[in-house]
């Protein structure tokens, strides 16, 4: 082996006679000519090599895939320089191993497939030396070189040149060229390959950069796709109707990002102690694992998912759990079971399976995890919504039933009561004063009680009828309604000598019968709960989309704490002796106002009168 030798000194000779001188001169000239010819040949060879190098470099510059690039390098070099063998090593990520990445011919391919590599710690290796020292190592005759490692696949190698591939100050790898002729490479070759290695290194560096950029682009694209899928899942979740449908949709959409052989959803119902499982396999046939399982029997799985997602092989999971043996029958080898956690409780799991072992990786877990969090909340909310809907329906049914009951009961109560009242009155009429004083008093109490009961039943009937009947909304002149009410109450108004003023009243969409009842109840209360001459003011004021009405009196008033209670049915603040009544009137008022989408309330102070306010929408 030798480092590069300086070119050899030209030979010179002196001849005594002319002939000899001339011959010598001729020889000299011949030699010069030869030398000149040789140098001309050298020059043309150099030019030729440079052209080849330029050509190769040009071809390389357009290849951005590293593997393709190096394949081309070795092929081109072998062909253009007529070499026995060429291959390229690159330092791997650890920077400690030179890995063969391309080689010429079948041998090169074989070595590459075998992942031929040389550690930088290897002492006797030309390639390693070139990489470590950063210089071209040339061996003219490998048989005399102790550092040469013979390769049985390349038996004819006689000389070898290891050219480091350097860009900047960094060694990327080594270009190794071998030939079956010893002393094959001269200075010119060394110079050419030295230049050439720079080009190759630059091209490799380019390819590295391009790969990196492409990796980044791929990552960005995959993120965008993932976001798009997640967005689609979100949309699907929003439009799905039931918890099961939400889970089904999400699992179906996940297939693009986490390809699976089979998938299912387990939902846990802690109240009933049931795990409900259904499969999302795309097959319409019922699945063997579908159905309800006991939560108690699934305790082991539950304990496991409490720790986090289960990623592993079916064979490693407890085999006594109900749905798992059935999975084995479907050829399932590996599973990913992901817990769905909503409000700190595991509400179920997403179960994915594949027919190859150890198949789920961190990426799968990460993607499912991204979907699982919003999915769990959506499922839980859908569950709650279903519950609320069910409760509302039950309530509505009960309400209707109650209203029906109240109506039928009060209607049927009327009949016997009518008989009682009529006969007691007949008794009073025929026998008052003919028995004794006690009998008269008792009869009076019976009549009084029976009449009160009649009022109650009538009130109850009116009240329950409000809930049963449809409203007939029509333009209603409140002025006319009030006149009707005043006429209905004219006896009381006369008796109490009441003074009644009112604002101009509007016409609005309402049920006129109900409005009449509303005003009549409020006015008769104002007349009733008074200890002096009643003064009543009826006000009206337009406020945006509704009218505000009020009935203000100068009566006894009430404590503000009872302001809400007086609108409940059968609620009274006074004894019958003080103020008679059924406790239904204001309940009817509230029902009428609420059925008109309005609001009713009272403002009052004891002794300072009361003002009852209510609102009615302008358009009903």
């Amino acid at each position: 082996m030798s480092k590069l030798e300086e070119s050899t000194t030209p030979q010179q000779e002196t001849v005594p006679d002319k002939t000899a001188t001339l011959r010598s001169r001729i020889q000299q000239l011949e030699a010069e000519l030869a030398s000149y010819k040789e140098s001309g040949a050298q020059i043309s060879r150099f030019a030729n090599q440079l052209r080849t190098a330029a050509d190769v470099s040009k071809q390389l510059s357009s290849i951005l895939d590293r593997e393709q690039l190096l394949k081309k390098v070795v092929a081109l070099l072998k062909e253009r320089f007529r070499l026995y063998h060429v291959h390229v090593y690159l330092l791997d990520e650890s920077q400690k191993v030179l890995r063969m990445v391309a080689g010429s011919g079948g041998v090169g391919e074989l070595l590459r497939v075998r992942q031929h590599a040389i550690s930088l710690d290897t002492v006797h290796s030309l390639v390693v030396r070139a990489a470590r020292e950063g210089y071209i190592i040339l061996v003219d005759d490998v048989s005399r070189e102790p550092d040469f490692l013979p390769n049985p696949l390349l038996p004819d190698t006689r000389c070898e040149m290891a050219v480091p591939l350097i860009t900047g100050n960094r060694v990327l790898g080594v270009l190794d060229v071998q030939d079956d002729r010893s002393h094959r490479f001269d200075q010119l070759d060394v110079a050419t390959f030295s230049t050439f290695s720079g080009h190759i290194a630059a091209a490799i560096q380019n390819a590295y950069l391009f790969e990196e950029q492409r990796r980044a682009e791929t990552a960005v694209r995959r993120y965008a796709e993932r976001l798009q899928s997640l967005h689609e899942i979100d949309q699907a979740i929003l439009t799905a109707e039931s918890p099961d449908n939400i889970a089904r949709t999400a699992i179906q959409r996940l297939r693009e990002m986490v390809p699976y052989h089979r998938a299912s959803f387990s939902s846990f119902d802690y109240q009933s102690g049931i795990v409900h499982i259904f499969s999302v396999t795309g097959s319409p046939e019922p699945d063997a694992i579908d159905g309800d399982y006991s939560l108690a029997e699934s305790q082991e799985i539950l304990e496991l998912v409490r720790q986090g997602p289960i990623v592993g092989n079916l064979a490693d999971l407890p085999s006594n759990l109900p749905p798992l043996p059935a999975l084995a029958d479907y050829g399932v080898k590996s599973v990913l079971i992901y817990p769905l956690v909503a409000y700190k409780e595991i509400i179920g799991t997403l179960n994915f399976s594949r027919s190859t072992p150890d198949s789920f990786d961190e990426h799968d877990v990460q993607v499912v995890g991204e979907v699982a969090a919003p999915l769990a909340i959506a499922i839980e909310q859908a569950r709650l919504y279903e519950q609320v809907k069910q409760h509302a329906q039950t309530l509505e049914e009960q309400n209707t039933e109650l209203a029906q009951f109240a109506y039928v009961a009060s209607h049927d109560l009327q009949e016997p009561l009518r008989i009682v009242i009529s006969y007691v009155q007949l008794l009073e009429r025929r026998y008052a004063g003919k028995l004794d004083e006690d009998a008269d008093l008792f009869i009076h109490y019976i009549v009084d009680g029976a009449l009160r009961m009649k009022n109650l039943i009538n009130g109850l009937l009116d009240y329950s009828r409000l809930g049963r009947q449809n409203q007939s909304l029509a333009p209603t002149d409140c002025e006319a309604v009030l006149q009707q009410v005043l006429s209905n109450l004219h006896l009381t108004i006369q008796e109490t000598n009441a003074i009644i003023h009112h604002d101009p009243l509007p016409t609005l969409m309402a049920d006129s019968m109900q409005l009449t009842q509303l005003w009549q109840n409020l006015l008769s209360n104002a007349l009733k709960f008074s200890e002096t001459q009643p003064e009543i003011y009826i006000g009206a004021k337009r406020e945006n989309q509704h009218w505000l009405f009020w009935v203000k009196d100068n009566g006894i008033g009430l404590e503000v704490e009872y302001g809400e209670r007086i609108f409940a049915i059968f609620q009274r603040l006074h004894t019958l002796e003080e103020y008679p009544g059924t406790g239904i009137g204001l309940a009817i008022c509230r029902k009428i106002v609420e059925r008109h989408n309005g609001r009713i309330w009272v403002e009052s102070e004891p002794g300072a009168g009361a003002t009852f306010y209510f609102t009615l929408p302008v358009k009903g």
């Binding site: 008989i419 009529s422 006969y423 009155q425 009449l451």
Partner: protein
Amino acid sequence: MTNPNSTEKEIIDILLVEDNPADVRLTQEAFKETSIKVQLYVVRDGAEALDFLQRHGRFAHVPRPDMILLDLNLPKKDGREVLSEIKTSPDFKSIPIVILTTSSAVEDIHHTYNHHANCYITKPADLDQFMDVVKQIEQFWLSVVRLP
């Protein structure tokens, strides 16, 4: 057979179709307090009412009533059916009918007027109202007999 339009009768024959004995007696008591003389015949259900009019069986010798007081809710054949049968019969459709019922349902009122009930009265809730009703019947009768 009597005809209210031909001569003024001293006694009015009224058929009361009513299943509740308390109501029957109350009606009887109420008519005691009126100025007109009333012979009240009582049947307990719709089928009997039609037998009465057609003088079937034990009703072979009853008079044709001058007026019918009909309760709507009756056993066997209810008041609505009785009403429509009477009002579609050429022989009986001229007899004035007063419906007495606890029902104030709008559909009942429409039904009975559509079948030419002459009067629809919700059963009064107390004695005074009942007396009023009987007085109205009396007035009604007097107006009917005065018809040409």
